[in-house]
């Protein structure tokens, strides 16, 4: 379960404090697929960074399972990011000089998994997201946008994380491919019992998630009608 309580992140802009995330409180149960919608500059990416332990909040609490990640420091924080969180980015952010297979093996290597096991696991995941064996040996530059995002999803799933954070995962894809990716994420949240939180502009996609939050000027509201 993801439980966020009174989360706040204040930046200084021209000497004046600006709350990018302002007293945000919400809960997403295990295996649920949630979405956050909001305009540019509303604080979506900042919120995602805080949830992914990429940044420290000014105040508040983020509990993943029973662990408050805002209290974690240094190597515990790195370990948390490695083992409990999976990231999916709009621009895929794959390492360009590694093959698709090697990209998926990367977080497994950071988790100190033996090479043979991580190769097996990466192949299994890439198969799961529908990447053929010959495509697995290609570098990201030789893959289409949809294929690259599939590799990114496989990479996010590598260490069987409790929480997947996706920042505009369909933003750079055509609508058909975007729908395929969304369906893939949706089915994964079911089969892997992974909590998925997606930041999106696409209201159609947001409408299909289990719950949707609207972020406006750092303040979060649960969208009426969402489950």
């Amino acid at each position: 379960m993801l439980q966020v309580t009174n989360l706040k992140k204040v930046f200084k802009s021209g000497g004046a404090p600006v709350a990018a995330v302002d007293n945000v409180t919400f809960t997403v149960a295990d295996g649920k697929f949630a979405s956050i919608i909001g305009k540019s500059g509303s604080g979506k990416s900042t919120l995602l960074g805080l949830l992914g332990a990429l940044d420290q909040p000014t105040a508040g609490e983020i509990k993943v399972g029973d662990k408050d990640i805002t209290k974690l420091r240094d190597h515990k924080l790195i370990r948390y990011r490695c083992e409990k969180i999976g990231f999916i980015f709009q621009n895929y952010n794959l390492v360009p000089n590694l093959t698709a297979l090697e990209n998926v093996m990367l977080p497994l290597e950071f988790a100190s998994m033996p090479k043979k096991k991580r190769t097996e696991r990466a192949k299994e995941l890439l198969g799961q997201v529908g990447l053929e064996e010959d495509q697995q040996k290609r570098r990201p530059g030789k893959l289409s946008g949809g294929q690259q995002q599939r590799v990114a999803i496989a990479r996010a799933l590598a260490n069987k994380p409790q929480l997947i954070l996706a920042d505009e995962p369909t933003g750079n894809l055509d609508s058909q491919t975007g729908k395929m990716i969304f369906d893939l994420l949706h089915s994964l949240s079911r089969t892997e019992n992974t909590t998925i939180l997606v930041v999106t502009h696409d209201l159609d996609i947001a409408g299909k998630t289990d719950m949707t939050f609207q972020l406006t000027d750092g303040k979060l509201k649960k969208k009426p009608g969402s489950r």
């Binding site: 990416s45 900042t46 995602l48 960074g49 992914g52 990429l54 940044d55 190597h75 790195i78 370990r79 990011r81 490695c82 083992e83 990231f87 980015f89 709009q90 621009n91 952010n93 390492v95 360009p96 990367l106 977080p107 950071f110 988790a111 990479r155 260490n159 920042d167």
Partner: protein, 425 residues
């Protein structure tokens, strides 16, 4: 430059070792059996032995056995060179043979009588307190064809004799001969491969001193110093200790002259190497900074998916090491072909002035055939090769360049926050 420096360093070591770490001490005014002066004493040599950095003093007392001193027949025939010495006085001239010519010149009105004397090359006897060095036997190397070396600690009438002398006089181990009116037993027969040296007799120093009535006296000493670099200091100390009674000669000056050009090449190579090291480090630094800047997002992503600072930095440092090792291999490849001509050019340029200085000295010391002149002649003959030591040093330098060059980029990497990369998305 690394190869040139290594080649020159090897040459310096070779020149220094070929010139040796010994100092010759002889009575003032004497050289071998030439000149004059007063003998030195073993007591004086004990003083020399106590000088700092002196590791040993080999004392010798040499004498020439005339036919009146010994029953030994010289193994060397006079020949034309010996005949030339007929006009000289001194030892080695025997009385005319029985029935020989004491010729009166009847055509002369004067009462001139010419005595025809027969020259016999003398047998040299040497007393020594240490016979471990082949130079005591007069050669570059020595082997015993029978018997063994004398025990120098005993004041006994025992001797090792040269192979030529033994054959001429039908002597073998256990045979005896007379010297200074006493019987001496042969304990060993040696071969130096040198005809003159194989005509000698080696005995314990004390025995020769006693037999020749020169107790406590020596005619030469060889002082061994712990390092070639300390020779100058020891020479000064010996001169201070013995004053005007001794001539002290070392090859240190010659060694210095011989290695001076090499030392300057070594200095040039060292500074060039340091310059290359600095330039290499700066190039790697700038290259790595550029790479880190270009791959800032990748670094952020790696951190976001669980890579630690140390792991991320290690990846970039290993990339820098790979880059420098590639440079090293290219450098070694070029070095194999370019090292020899570059080293040769540097050595030739530096040593030509030194050679001119040596040749310009009146009565220059670089006599043909001497160790020093050989060393001087060989100074230019520097062989540059890429050996295991050079490669090992090259690898070490490559690692140093990589580490220095990637230190700043590594710091930049450690400061990249994954959240910043997300915001830049």
């Amino acid at each position: 430059m690394l190869v040139a420096r290594q080649a020159v360093q090897d040459k310096i070591t070779t020149v220094k070792s070929s010139i040796g770490n010994t100092i010759a001490v002889s009575p003032a005014g004497a050289r071998g059996f030439e000149g004059g002066g007063e003998a030195l004493t073993s007591a004086q040599m004990n003083t020399v032995n106590s000088i700092t950095n002196v590791t040993g003093v080999t004392q010798t007392l040499s004498d020439r056995l005339t036919s009146t001193d010994t029953n030994l027949q010289s193994a060397i025939t006079a020949g034309s060179l010996g005949a030339r010495a007929q006009n000289n006085s001194g030892v080695g001239f025997a009385a005319p043979p029985e029935g020989g010519t004491i010729r009166s010149d009847a055509s002369s009105t004067s009462a001139f009588t010419q005595i025809t004397r027969t020259f016999t090359p003398p047998v040299t006897i040497t007393g020594a307190n240490d016979v471990s060095s082949a130079s005591i036997y007069g050669g570059d190397s020595v082997t015993f064809t029978s018997g063994q070396a004398i025990d120098v600690s005993k004041d006994e009438n025992i001797a090792a004799i040269g192979k030529g002398l033994a054959e001429k006089n039908n002597l073998s181990v256990g045979s005896t001969f007379t010297a200074y009116g006493q019987t001496v037993t042969v304990v060993g027969v040696y071969d130096t491969g040198n005809t003159f040296a194989n005509n000698g007799v080696i005995m314990p120093l004390a025995a020769v001193q006693r037999l020749s009535s020169q107790v406590g006296q020596i005619t030469s000493a060889t002082v061994t110093v712990n390092s070639v670099d300390n020779i100058d200091g020891v020479v000064t100390a010996i001169k201070a200790a013995l004053g005007a009674t001794a001539d002290v000669v070392s090859n240190q000056t010659s060694a210095k002259t011989a290695v001076e050009p090499l030392e300057s090449v070594k200095t040039i190579s060292t500074y060039s190497l340091l310059g290359a090291l600095g330039a290499g480090a700066i190039i790697i630094l700038l290259t790595m900074m550029m790479i880190v800047r270009e791959r800032r997002r990748e670094i952020g992503v790696m951190k976001a998916i669980g890579s630690s600072n140390a792991k991320t930095m290690l990846q970039f440092v290993s990339e820098a090491v790979t880059l420098t090792l590639l440079g090293l291999f290219v450098g070694i490849f070029i070095g194999i072909f370019a090292a020899q001509p570059i080293t040769k050019m540097l050595v030739n340029n530096s040593s030509s002035s030194a050679t001119t200085q040596v040749q310009g000295r009146p009565g220059g010391f670089a006599r043909s055939g001497s160790t020093t002149s050989t060393a001087l002649r060989s100074v230019k003959n520097v062989q540059a090769s890429v050996g295991a030591t050079t490669i090992a040093e090259g690898v070490g330098i490559a690692f140093l360049i990589a580490i220095i060059g990637s230190a700043a980029p590594a710091y930049v990497i450690s400061k990249i926050r994954p959240a910043e990369v997300m915001r830049a998305d």
